[in-house]
Subunit: 655 residues, 2 copies
């Protein structure tokens, strides 16, 4: 139980330093790294800080308004009996309230704000009034269900809403010190413990998240019953409860196979990965190495054939599901913003358990390229779906279609408040601490300007990442000997580093680990090569055959119609890799809140406009590019659709 750590938390496990972490892909220890206490990692400037400030100033404020106007709070008031009417919106409307409360809790911790605190108190009172005397709480079910509880648990999201309440309660408690929401959460958790589990109601919710929530609540309260119930929920899954009780096809609900037997995620992406994240919490808390090994295998399965180049996951619109292996079409990529958040949460937990840089690499790729595209630069509009291609004449249909551009809210508004809570706790993903043989360690996983305090040390990080590759770490306080570790991303072949001016070798995809008696003022500097990288996919990814992606640093780039000259449609852009290597980078502080643009030499496909859809094939593919090269700017994918909405391509066909 660690009542002072922020966000994605893991209580202390066996203390081992990442320095000696086994290189083998399956970790044998249940926990290697520890989150730093709330406030001990603090961004003070730069890229993510700006996003966090906009989230605080814009998103969280408009989110509060949306909870009023979309009916979420009204549902709770109706459940409380203080307002009359029918419940509004999808069954899981309460969870939006809890996600927003979680964001507000972390924000208040980042910087106290009487208005935010006032809103938290106001909404907590609404939630408290809705709770039944025995602890049960789910406003939509209370209002629509006419007293029925858990009768339709595969669809009802009753545990799902509870899980988000637990996470919110921990955040508000840690962030404000107030116990109002925590009391509600404990009362509901006690009700769940009394109702579910072996010998009681043996059922699982159709949508996981309660597992993570219960473990968090265990950490906050020390009540092992919550951990035990989380374990039961994780282990009960995959034993056909949902099909047996409700006649539903189990894949969608992550109920086809036990977590321990799943080698590649399947079904509804958010459900599947909230479950694995919860299972990772459980493995860490219980030292369950077998479970952790199974999660390592499943994570590798996801990364090897079911992850978009952006880090996004979930390729099917129908039922928001993972596709088959290598089914990763860019135009119909679903890549739900919430699924990206789930992936970050899971990889973070795997990082803590194993200390392996690959998990932090995926956190970084996903944050920049699959999570961040979900919110507008202004912080007020959202993508639910993150397609990697939009054709110039795409038809904007239902609310999730990217052809609408980002939208202020959704009827099914799971993503916006999920983005809010993630940005509010982003500092927690930056650093961890370790303690091995009495020597403290500080690991820097994500690069942002700010300060980190851990293990008696305090360091200041200065960087203009992701635009510039230099990360400067200065020791502000030192306990004497400690180990400072900086992640060298997997893409950063050729990174160079100096320790107090002396060059040291680096390995891409591993940590630069410096163990010494640091003095105040000592500087470790890492310089990551910000060259333009051209990437292609495994040939089994049929949908992007013959295409490449342009990357720089941690960012995936996109060609947008608004940047193209008249007559050149983004659909028809073609590239030659040899020419792309000469792409010039230019930082444009005036553009898109400041981005480094890559000027790409491109060709226009010819022959596309004429002829029938299907035609005789030549011995070799017909030439599809003119000789004339035009140089056009490309922008980071996260920033697309912030100007004029139009055609967009991440995967660029070869000429």
């Amino acid at each position: 139980m660690t009542s002072t750590t922020a966000g994605p938390d893991l209580a202390p496990g066996p203390a081992t330093s990442p320095v000696t972490a086994p290189a083998a892909p399956t970790a044998r220890a249940a926990l290697l790294l520890h989150p730093v206490p709330l406030g001990a990692s603090r961004s003070t400037g730069g890229f993510w800080f700006e996003r966090m400030q906009i989230n605080r100033r814009q998103a969280i404020r408009t989110g509060y308004d949306k909870l009023q106007t979309a009916g979420n709070l009204r549902n709770l008031r109706i459940a409380a009996g203080v307002e009359q009417g029918e419940a509004t919106g999808p069954i899981f409307m309460d969870s939006d309230v809890y996600k927003w409360l979680e964001a507000a809790g972390w924000e208040h911790a980042r910087e106290p704000d009487p208005q935010i605190l006032g809103w938290i108190r106001e909404i907590t009172a609404v939630v408290a009034a809705a709770q039944a005397a025995d602890g049960y709480l789910d406003s939509v079910q209370q209002v629509r269900g006419q007293g029925a509880r858990y009768t339709d648990l595969h669809w009802s999201h009753e545990h799902y809403c509870a899980g988000h309440l637990f996470q919110a309660a921990v955040a508000v408690h840690r962030g404000t010190g107030e116990t109002g929401l925590l009391d509600i959460a404990v009362k509901l958790a006690d009700h769940l413990v009394a109702t579910f589990g072996p010998g009681r109601t043996e059922e699982v919710d159709g949508h996981p998240v309660v597992e993570m929530g219960l473990v968090e609540l265990f950490r906050e309260t020390g009540n092992r019953a919550y951990l035990d119930l989380a374990r039961w929920f994780v282990d009960a899954r995959g034993h056909d409860i949902i099909r047996t009780r409700h006649g539903a096809e189990p894949t969608y609900f992550s109920d086809r196979l036990p977590v321990r037997e799943t080698t590649s995620p399947e079904g509804h992406a958010v459900r599947a990965i909230y479950l694995t994240a919860g299972a990772a919490d459980l493995a860490a808390e219980t030292g369950d190495v077998e479970l952790l090994d199974a999660l390592v295998r499943q994570w590798e399965g996801m990364l090897s054939s079911k992850t978009y180049v952006t880090g996004g996951i979930g390729s099917r619109w129908d039922w928001e599901q993972f596709g088959d292996h290598y089914e990763l079409g860019p135009d119909r990529a679903y890549a739900e913003t919430c699924a990206a958040i789930a992936s970050v949460q899971w990889s973070w937990r795997m990082l803590l358990a194993t200390g392996e840089a690959r998990y932090a690499d995926l956190v970084e790729r996903t944050l920049f390229n699959a999570f961040l595209p979900g919110v507008s630069l202004a912080g007020t509009e959202y993508f639910y779906v993150n397609a990697l291609q939009l054709r110039h004449d795409a038809h904007a249909e239902e609310e999730r279609s990217v052809a609408h551009g980002r939208r202020p809210w959704f009827d099914c508004a799971c993503c916006p408040p999920n983005i809010m809570r993630t940005l509010s706790q982003l500092d927690a993903y930056v650093a961890t601490s370790s303690d091995r043989d009495g020597v403290a360690g500080v690991q820097l996983h994500q690069f942002t300007t700010g300060e980190v305090q851990a293990g008696g040390a305090r360091v200041r990080v200065d960087t203009d990442y992701p635009w510039d590759g230099t990360v400067r770490v200065e020791v502000l306080e030192s306990p004497g000997e400690f180990e400072l570790a900086l992640r060298v991303p997997g893409w950063a072949e050729g990174a160079v580093a100096t320790v107090v001016g002396e060059p040291v070798p680096t390995t891409a995809g591993d940590y630069l680990r410096v163990r010494r008696a640091f003095s105040v003022g000592d500087v470790v500097e890492l310089v990551l090569p910000m060259t333009v990288r051209i990437v292609e996919a495994d040939p089994r990814v049929d949908a992007v055959r013959g295409c490449v992606v342009v990357e720089r640093g941690p960012l995936v780039y996109a060609v947008e119609q608004v940047d193209l000259p008249d007559g050149l449609v983004a659909d028809d852009v073609r590239v030659r890799v040899a020419e792309l290597r000469d792409a010039r980078a230019e930082h444009r502080s005036d553009l898109l809140d400041g981005v480094t643009v890559l000027h790409l030499p491109v060709h226009a496909a010819v022959g596309a406009a004429a002829g029938p859809l299907y035609r005789p094939a030549g011995d070799d593919p017909a030439p599809q590019a003119e000789d004339t090269v035009q140089v056009v700017p490309s922008v980071p994918y996260y920033a697309w659709a912030n100007r004029e909405l139009g055609a967009m391509r991440v995967w660029l066909p070869r000429a």
Copy 2:
């Protein structure tokens, strides 16, 4: 009113021969060709005849059983009050009954069968008992709706079921001479006329088909009120009735734009194309040239960017919809069997109205490659969805997934009886007649062994099509001078023909028209080149970039796992076009009810197994094929998944 013509019918319009039909894409005359009377086109052997006989002997018999066991007839009995209980299945369960009745009616016309007639009478009695006194009929709505009618017309399918009843009633009347079902249909149609239309209830059904049904019923009865109501339904669409009345997004329901303004089909594929087919009926009956021109444009829009190489349509699983232009991914191709049927119905009507071969070309491509794959060779199992690729480790999930293989029936069983009625009336798509300046014309659009009688002429067709390209037409009866026209498919460049032994020139994609004083015994012979053709897609079809399709005659070929040697997975097959041109054709009468196999030289992708999902790109695409060539058989796509279910590819990546 033409009470003796079969299946897809059009009453006489301005009589013009296709000989002088304008080459311009937009026809100015409303009707050029006429269906031949029921029984005047009769297959007696060969490819389609075999499929029709299996349909008669297997599908229609098992279909009768399914109507009993799946609850369709029970629903009607409950509505009639002779059985108790709740209605079973989706809201449109009645339509399966009507489609089956339609099939049975045409089958009885093909060859009278007392058992089939007995079933028709039995089921007609069940339907009659369910009908309300005022003509209303929809068993599921009657049982579930507690008296409510048309309250939820965008979802309820009440008109949809009526439309299928009308089509069935016409078929049964024409096929058996009995009026029982027609009486029910007229009573329901009169009720619709009294209820809907200008000044009455101004609403449209969410699922078109009633338009075609009403026009057919007008043709059968001569009651213009049915034609007027069909016209009102067609014209009312696209004026936001569904959004206004029900708050639903209109694209899915083909209600976003009027038919006259739609340039490319969108929304739910079956809905969209049943509507255009009904509109084509209307254009023909009313001589509405503006409407026909709009339909020509929309048909061209479909063909130019929204049609699979198989002729299948509808690329999105979510909501069974058309995708954007060029969104034609093979792995998630939806290509619903019912949508292929709708496309055939529409193209047939466009052919009648314009006389242009391109419509018959699409009918052929669709029948062989998008419709026929929907049913097993045994005639007892069905595909709902017709994907063009199945990966070797695809996960079989919900009932529509092709990873299950074909299935005996579906909870939503729209496709199986739709296949039955289409095969039962297939002879009607073979030939038409014309009459211009007193000279009769007979047009042969599809090639099947059998006889056609029209315009005083009778001809016998002999062919082993689609395996052999020779089509021999012998005149059995002649009225003197008449014009015999044979379609030369668009793919058949270099076709040769003789008329009474004399060579005549042909043009691919047009009709070979022979106008002369034919004598009995005169022979016209068309020889289509059955070479192997290698086809590629417009480069805007991103999903099949760098891939080709192998075709022969009207057939699209597929590589199936069951035909590959150990160690070669269909996912990894690569081809070189120059080598494919040498593919050897071999007719295998022992295989798949007799197919011509193409032996394709293929390579195996290398480098696919190792390395990360995303990797640095070389200046040129990495070589993906070994030097060794293996020759493997490929089979017509329609026949796939009739042996061992496994990986399958229609689009073959270039090595």
